[in-house]
């Protein structure tokens, strides 16, 4: 056997852990923001690592901007963009994109609708010309809108046997006041989706797909001048203004703790969701809350996962998170656990929430969270796709222009006292809703014995089952 002895400074046999050299500097890719005459904001980030460009158009037409009773129209409209234009039908349109090798996407989340492409440099111009065509002159064929509606209804039907999606949806329903848009599925529930028509889609499109209030992002192998010129050529003739809407109400369904048991017969595991209403994205304590959550349950090495997975082996994984939206999205702890430890797992989650509110975290825990969140930046933004998403968030939440240059320092400035303060201020043990999707016959009694508050039971359709 050959013994290599390149060991620096005569390292002892015990293989000491290497000490890192000083980190190299990193800056988020430079970008420029130009507003066209018609009000469209254009953000160009030249990232010339590989001959790839990602270019999404972002419109203020997310689910939270839908008219009352029209849940699902935002998603249907965004997806409908790919179904054809005044010049060509959906088949021809997607084929044109794909013959350029362009991967084309469209969809809507709570805050934004988007349509975009990722394409090799050599095909940028024709691909973005097609994108302009579908964004500015969609035809929304009757038949294809009906098909997309039917596909959404099929998804909803399938969710009744898919415990993860079902648990997320039920959690939102039990946490938010029924009048809040956040209480109902982002892509709409079957009651409203079934009634959506092509006219609803057209009307929503006409009202909300306008340049003033929208953003076009180009990231990749393209210069600022080129990007602006492509944007002007493509979207310069577009006109109109989209009116801002208020974010959804964040009133809770109930102010005190309760348990909600959704029946899934013979399930070998319980899907568990524990949480309450969280905070809006533009919150002054955003970074404190992010660090606090990283210690509580945001990482593999967080308290909740080390407790539930590594100490107790209740689960394959357990995590917590704040869903950041324009309005106050939920805070939720999510896990899937074996039936016979369902109540124990819920108890440990509640204990961890109490614990992080009771005493300061250790300096070690703080440094793990802040050095991860700060250090992972260059890895998080390796691809044109990830950078485009980050710039889309910058636009959607109107974050400061130097946000990506200052946020690492903002994370590193958070102290253990800040974390304790954030935990005490923004985690509300008495308001937690404990939602379990599982085999009621096995888990009902142990959950009831925990005395979490009122315990309610539901079918897989979310309809309460009384007197049982």
């Amino acid at each position: 056997m050959k013994h290599a002895s390149i060991a620096l400074g005569g390292a002892p046999a015990a293989r000491p852990r290497p000490v890192a050299a000083a980190p190299k500097p990193y800056r988020f890719p430079r970008f420029e923001i130009v507003t066209l005459d018609n009000g469209l904001r254009v953000i160009v980030a030249p990232v010339r690592t590989l001959p790839v460009v990602t270019a999404p158009l972002l419109v203020d037409a997310g689910a939270s901007t839908e008219p009352a009773g029209r849940d699902g129209v935002a998603n249907l409209t965004a997806r409908g963009l790919l179904e054809g234009t005044l010049q060509r039908d959906g088949n021809a349109l997607t084929e044109q994109f794909e013959r350029l090798g362009a991967s084309v996407f469209s969809g809507a989340d709570w805050d934004t609708a988007n349509a975009g492409v990722t394409v090799l440099r050599e095909h940028v111009e024709p691909a973005i010309a097609l994108l302009g065509e579908l964004a500015l002159a969609p035809s929304f064929p009757e038949r294809d809108i009906a098909r997309l509606r039917a596909e959404r209804l099929a998804d909803l039907l399938q969710m009744r046997t898919e415990p993860r999606g079902l648990a997320d949806e039920m959690f939102a329903r039990f946490v938010y006041d029924p009048f809040s848009r956040y209480a109902r599925p982002e892509e709409g529930g079957s009651d409203t989706v079934a009634t959506l028509t092509r006219d609803d889609v057209r009307r929503f499109y006409t009202e909300r797909y306008r340049p003033r209030g929208s953003t076009f992002v180009l990231v990749g192998d393209v210069s600022v001048d080129e990007g602006v010129s492509i944007a002007t050529r493509t979207f310069g003739g577009w006109d109109g203004v989209v009116s801002p809407t208020a974010p959804p109400a964040d009133a809770p369904a109930r102010r005190t703790r309760a348990a909600h048991l959704v029946r899934k017969a013979d399930a070998p595991q319980s899907e568990l969701r524990v949480g309450h209403i969280g905070l809006p994205r533009r919150h002054p304590d955003y970074f404190r809350v992010m660090v606090m959550n990283a210690v509580l349950g945001g990482l593999f090495s967080s308290r909740i996962n080390l407790n539930l997975r590594e100490a107790h082996a209740y689960t394959y994984g357990a995590f917590s998170g704040f869903a950041w939206r324009r309005g106050a999205g939920p805070f939720v702890v999510s896990t899937a656990v074996e039936n016979d430890v369902t109540a124990d797992a819920a108890r440990e989650i509640l204990l961890e929430i109490d614990r992080i509110r009771a005493a300061p975290i250790s300096a070690d825990e703080l440094s793990l969270a802040t050095s991860y969140l700060g250090g992972v930046f260059p890895i998080k933004y390796e691809t044109t796709d990830a950078i485009a998403l980050a710039l889309a968030a910058l636009a959607a939440y109107e974050l400061p222009i130097d946000y990506f240059d200052t946020s690492r320092d903002a994370v590193r400035a958070v102290s253990t006292a800040d974390v304790l303060d954030a935990a005490q201020r923004y985690l509300h043990p008495d308001a937690l809703q404990v939602v379990v999707v599982g085999d009621a016959s096995q888990i009902r009694a142990p959950l009831a014995a925990m005395a979490l508050g009122p315990m309610l039971e539901y079918g897989a359709d979310g309809v309460e089952i009384s007197g049982d």
Partner: protein, 439 residues
């Protein structure tokens, strides 16, 4: 699209590949061990994957879960994964932490066993059982990934059995199994180490030698797998109908396919993309858009480089569509391709999409490192990464049509059909009828 690639071998047999790129201050470290579920012995299904979990439970100089903690503290990301024919471990870190990543990987390659305890094994066994429940037993259609290989590889073939493993076999795994598996497969001469991103080659080479150079090669050769060779076709249509807790039918239609890396593989891969990649693929156009039989339909390959690969069509029925109609619809698309062939435009579209996806994936240092490890581990030649685009571009209509004629016939189909179990909504009576038709 070419990236710089260097490759060499340490005296203990460890293959090292390097790909330098200074555009971001990060570096990816990736290890492929040539061991997967195929190497498991009888009665120990799931062991390769359970073992992967144990590699995060510490080693001589690393505490349990400290690997995760140290990498995350460094601002890095990490994980591992197990497949039929390989297991990989990887981290991407800020480039000043390259030594840490190498030190951690070397410690568990060289000195895992001192850290293994019965309690850690018991815990990870339960974690993996919960992973099985989560990904398979409590998910609609979740068992497809173990049923399809079982249906398409003969019972004695190394790819036949379950990757995640049976609950019984997971229960039976012992510390002695850990020790034996470790000394048999986790050794430098059965591994590839790849480093991609921001590093100085001379320094990286020195660090690799420093951390891995003294790890001894295996005492005896890695035991060969049972003969993996299979005829090019199944010889019949295999069939399994699974009544499950699902609301709508879903069909997996698989074809035995040439191994990953062969010339024929690329024709098959292009055919798969013609059938099921992108919104204007055949399955999307015909089944989702036109006849509205399916709500989703895709195609993919397993990318196995030994024995035989699988080309798989995956289609989910619309709620009002019976499983018979779904199967008939997919079969018609396949028959039409086989009978009438594909067009030049379809081949061009498929290659263009594959190429964009490939180039886009190379933006990530972790992806570059993983692909280098793959080509080095499977073909002893990481430079094949730079030939992928050309190999796809060389595929012609004639080669795709020849593939379709040879491989898509009724003598080479495996039908795995999930139907709603009696009592579910949707099609209450269909399950019984369908079960009756099963072989």
């Amino acid at each position: 699209m070419r990236i710089p690639i260097e490759s060499y071998r340490l005296s203990n047999g460890l293959v090292v590949t390097l790909s330098e790129d200074h555009r971001a201050p990060i570096v990816a470290v990736n290890l492929w061990y040539r061991v997967g579920s195929a190497n498991e012995r009888l009665g120990r299904t799931g062991f390769a994957h359970l073992f992967e979990h144990m590699l995060f439970q510490g080693s001589e100089h690393v505490q349990a879960n400290e690997h995760f903690e140290l990498i995350q503290r460094a601002g890095g990301t990490l994980n591992g994964s197990t497949w039929l024919d390989r297991t990989n471990y990887y981290e991407t870190v800020p480039s000043n932490e390259l030594a840490l990543a190498l030190w951690l990987e070397a410690d568990r390659m060289g000195a895992l066993l001192p850290a293994m305890t019965q309690q850690k094994l018991d815990t990870q066994r339960d974690v993996v059982k919960n992973e099985r429940r989560w990904s398979m037993d409590n998910q609609p259609y979740g068992t497809w990934s173990e049923r399809l290989p079982a249906l398409t590889y003969p019972p004695t073939h190394p790819f036949h059995h379950s990757l995640i493993g049976s609950m019984e076999d997971l229960s039976a795994a012992s510390l002695e199994d850990i020790a034996q598996f470790f000394s048999t497969f986790y050794r430098p001469d059965n591994a590839v180490l790849s480093i991609a991103g921001d590093f100085e080659p001379a320094q990286a080479r020195a660090l690799v030698e420093q951390h891995f150079g003294a790890i001894p090669r295996g005492a005896s050769p890695v035991p060969p797998l049972a003969d993996m060779t299979l005829p090019p076709r199944f010889g019949a249509t295999h069939r399994e109908v699974v009544p499950d807790t699902v609301m709508v039918p879903r069909l997996f239609l698989a074809f035995r396919a040439p191994v990953f890396g062969s010339d024929e593989y690329y024709a098959g891969s292009v055919l798969g993309a013609i059938l099921g990649l992108g919104k204007s693929s055949r399955l999307q156009r015909v089944l989702v858009r036109q006849s509205e039989i399916a709500s989703e339909a895709t195609a993919f390959t397993f990318d196995l480089s030994q024995g035989a690969d699988l080309l798989v069509i995956d289609a989910t029925a619309r709620p009002e569509v019976s499983s018979d109609a779904l199967e008939a619809g997919v079969t018609q698309v396949v028959d039409a391709v086989r009978r009438d062939g594909v067009t030049g435009a379809e081949v061009e579209r498929a290659i263009a999409l594959i190429e964009t996806a490939f180039v886009t994936s190379l933006q990530s240092a972790g992806e570059r490192a993983d692909k280098l490890s793959m080509f080095a581990a499977m073909f002893d030649d990481p430079r094949l990464l730079n030939e992928q685009t050309d190999r796809y571009r060389a595929v012609t209509v004639e080669r795709v049509n020849a593939f379709a004629r040879e491989r898509l016939g009724t003598d080479n189909r495996a039908v795995l059909l999930y139907v709603p179990k009696h009592g579910e909504e949707g099609e209450p009576d269909e399950a019984e009828a369908a079960s009756g038709a099963a072989r």
